[in-house]
Symmetry: C2
Amino acid sequence: MDQAGKPRRRSGGRAGNAARRGQAAIDQMPWKPPVNIDRPTEPLPTEGVQAIHDGAMRILEEIGIEFLNDEAIALFRQAGCTVNGSNVRMGREWVMEMLGHAPAQFDITPRNPDRKITIGGKHILFGNVSSPPNYFDLEIGKKVSGSRAQCADLLRLTQYFNCIHFAGGYPVEPVDVHPSVRHLDVVYDKMVLTDKVPHAYSLGKERVEDVMEMIKIAGGLTEEEFTAAPHMYTNINSTSPLKHDVPMIDGCLRCIRRGQAVIVTPFTLAGAMAPVTMAGAVSLSIAEALSAIALFQYVRPGAPCVIGTFTSNVDMKSGAPAFGTPEYMRATQMTGQMARFYGLPMRASGSCAANVPDGQAMWETSNALWSAVQSGTNIVYHAAGWLEGGLVASPEKFIMDCEVLQMIQRYMDPAITATGPDDIAIDAIKEVGPNGHFFGITHTQDRYEAAFYQPFLSDWRNFEAWEAAGSVWTAERAHRIFKEIIGSFEEPPMDDGIKEALGDFVARRKAEGGAPTDF
Amino acid sequence: MDQAGKPRRRSGGRAGNAARRGQAAIDQMPWKPPVNIDRPTEPLPTEGVQAIHDGAMRILEEIGIEFLNDEAIALFRQAGCTVNGSNVRMGREWVMEMLGHAPAQFDITPRNPDRKITIGGKHILFGNVSSPPNYFDLEIGKKVSGSRAQCADLLRLTQYFNCIHFAGGYPVEPVDVHPSVRHLDVVYDKMVLTDKVPHAYSLGKERVEDVMEMIKIAGGLTEEEFTAAPHMYTNINSTSPLKHDVPMIDGCLRCIRRGQAVIVTPFTLAGAMAPVTMAGAVSLSIAEALSAIALFQYVRPGAPCVIGTFTSNVDMKSGAPAFGTPEYMRATQMTGQMARFYGLPMRASGSCAANVPDGQAMWETSNALWSAVQSGTNIVYHAAGWLEGGLVASPEKFIMDCEVLQMIQRYMDPAITATGPDDIAIDAIKEVGPNGHFFGITHTQDRYEAAFYQPFLSDWRNFEAWEAAGSVWTAERAHRIFKEIIGSFEEPPMDDGIKEALGDFVARRKAEGGAPTDF
C-alpha cells in the first residue's frame, strides 16, 4: 500500500487493470442530488411544534447547558447570557434573534466545483458511513478493526457512487494508524481518492487546522478564497444530556471563523441520555443543538449551520441502541418540523442495528432512509455502509444502500407523475385496443429507455435464471460489485504539484508530531 | 396429512407438542388494525387528478371496455350504455352517478366477530400472500410447486400473526390437489385453521358458490344472516388492456347479489399491457376498475366495492415485471389520490421481484409497503410472504414481512408523538441534570415497558453476542420461528357440528365432481 492507499494489483496484471480502467463496473445514475418534491410527513400539529419549542426554550432558560470550553463561556458572558461556572442559561429572545442570522440555505464547494452541493431548501444529500471503528466484508467473514486500506476502499466507493454527495468523516476508523497522525493519512487519502465535499473532525485544534490546510492545498485555494465561502464542514455531537465539550466547540469556532460550515447533531437515546418519550428526547436534542448554533451566530452572524438529529431509543432488553424503529422514524419527522420552524437546514441519518447486510439490515435502513425523506431533511449522514448501530462499516452494505439511494433519487423525478396528454396516452390506448400489446408501439418505443428505474444490484430475473447463474444472494452480489469497482477505480484528477504539496504537508506535520496524544 | 391438513407430529412426540401448545412462539403485538394518522403523499396537483379522471372517462366513453360476459352485456344495455358486441361504452355522468352509490366504508365480519375489519376511511389492513403457484423455504432450499401441506402451514401463519387481518386467497396454490376440488380442500383448511375474513376466487360458478356456502356453514349463518352484511369478499383482475372476462364478472355478480364485497384490481404493467407512462397506466387501470364497479352499483346500489391497483413496470432488459420500484411507488400514491377523488376504498399490495428472502427482497417490499401507507390505501394485499414477482410464497419472507407490518402498526400509534407536559418531560430533564442517567428515574421506569417497539425477529444484540449465538442471518432466524409457530400452533375454536357439516359438504361436492374441468 503506498501513501495514497492505492490497491494492490488485482488479478489480470497490468493489462487486466488497464482493460478494466475506463470500463464502468456498473451502470449508475448520473450525479443529480435530488430535490424533495414531496410534502413532508408532519405528525405534530401546530400546538405540538409550539410545545417542543417551548420545552427547548425552557431547557435553555431554566436548566442551561454545560459548555466545557472556556472560550465559549466567555463569549456567552459577553453576549449577556447567565453564566455560572460551566452552566449557561440563555433567554429565548436572544436565541431566536441569533437563529435569525442563520442562513436557510448555503453551498459547499469542494475541489471539484462540479460536485458543489446545496444545503437547505428541498435539497436532499446522501453521505457515506462515518466513524465506525470496525469493518466487515464477506471475504473476511468477521468483524475486524478498521484499517487504512479498508478506509481507502470505502473512500473509493464514496467517490465512485454518484448517489453519494459528500465524503463525511472516515468511512471506517483506521486503527492501524497512530491517532496522532491518523487524520493526516486519512485526509491525504480522501483528498487524492475523492473530489467531493470533505469534512474535518472537531477533535482537537491540530486535527481541525491540519485538515482545513490540506483542503486548501488540495483545492489550490488561497486563504482568501478558502474563507470566502464554505469548502468543507465539521459535524459535532453534544454530550447528552445537556453538555458540549471542549474540542467540539473549539473545532466549530475554528471552522466558522474561517467561513466553513458546521452541523450540530445531538445523540439523544431515549431512556438513556434523554427522556424515554420522543417529545422529551427531541426537546432536549433541539435545546442542545440550538445552544451551540446560537453561539456560532453570535460569533459570526450568518455562519452556515445545520441542525442534526440522532434520536433513537435503547432496546429495553439489552440496553443496546435500536435504529430504524417506528419511534426513530417519528422523532426524525418531528425534528424536521422543528428545523422548518427555526428556518435551519437539517441533518438526519441512515442507520440499522443489524450486524450483517441481510434482510433486517435493509428493512431497518429503509425505515431510516424513508423517514429521513419524509422529514424533509437536507442531509442524510451514514446513508451507505452502516451496520451494527454504527460500530461496523461494510462495503456490501454500502453498495446495497446505494441501490436504495438511487431509487430515492429516481423517486424524486417529477417526470414519473406527469399527466400531460402524452402521459395520459389516450391515443396509445386506442391504438393498441383490447387485443394488442404496448411494447411495439411508437409511444412506448420513444420512451422506454428512460421510463423506468434501472437497478445495478437488484436481480430481477426469474428464479430459474437466478438459480442457473449460481443462486447468488444479494450481499454476495454486492461483494462482487465491490471488487469490480475497486479493481477498475479511477482516481479523480489531481495536479502533480498539488499532490506533492499535500505529501509535503503530511510529512512535515508528522515530523512535528501531528496531533498530540498521551500515548 | 388428514383432511384438516393437520401437521405431522413434530419431534418431541405428544408430550413435546403438548408442552409447546399454549406457549407463545413469539411475543407479538395484539390485534389492532392500524388507523393511518399520516397525511397521504400526493404527487399529483389538482389538475393532475382531473387529467387522470378525464383520461379514464375518455377511455370509457370513446374506447369502451370489452365485457366477455353476456349477463353483463345485457345489464349495460339495460342501463343505457352503448353496447356493440362485447364492447361497452359508458358516459361519465352515468359512471359518476353509479359510483355515488358506492359506500366509502364498510365492515366485513368473519366467523370470529372479534376479527371484524373495517374497509375504508383511514383504516389500513394487511393480508397474506395470495395465489403463487410455487413455494420456497430454506429447508427445501429450492423453488417447488405448492402443496396442500405448505398451503396449510401458510394459513397457520396467516392465523397466527395479529398483524395479518384477513385470509386472502390461497397463500400458495396446492398443485397436488386436482383443480376440480382444490377450492373445497383449501377452503376447508382455511375455515378450520383460520377465523379471519376469508375470500373466494371468481373462477367459475362452483368455486364462488361452494366457497360462500362453506363460509356460511363455518360461521353458522342462515342465508338471511349471510346476505345481511359482508362476511367475505372476492378479488378480481381485469384483463388489461380493456377487458373483463367471464368468470371474474360472474363471480362478482354472485357475491354482490348476496351482499358480499368485491375488490377490482387491474394489473397494469406499463410498457406491456398498459402505456409506458405511469399516468397512462393509472388512467387505464382506473377506467377498467370503475367500469366494473359502476356495473356492480347498477345491479346493487350500495354494494361494497374496493378499487385496487397493481400498476408496475416491465424491466426493459428481461421483460419481467419489476416491483417495489420508484415508479410503482408513485403509481400507488397516484391511485390513492384517485380513490379519494371517487370516494372508494382502495387496495394496494406488498411485493418484490427478489427470488429469496434477502436484502433486495426487503428493500423492495419496504418500498411497496411504505408507498402503500403513503397512498392512504385501506387494504394491502400480499403484505406478507411474497417472492419472485408473485410466483413464490415463502414462510421466511412471511415472517420477515410481519416484522415490518408490526412496525407500521406501531408507527401509527399517536402516543409516540404526544407532546403533553409529561412527554416534554422538563422535570425529568431537571432531575437527571447534566451528569445523570435517565434509566433509573421514575419517569422512565413508569413508561419504558410500553415506550418502544419490541421486535420478535430483528436481532439487536451486538456483533459479538450475535456471533456467539451462531452468526445466524435473518432468513434463517425467520425459518426457526416458522418451525416454532407451526409446532405450537393452536387452531381457532370450531364447533364439532360445524366441522362435521363442513366435511360433509366437501365430501358431497367432491362426489358431484366439484368444479368442472376439461382434464
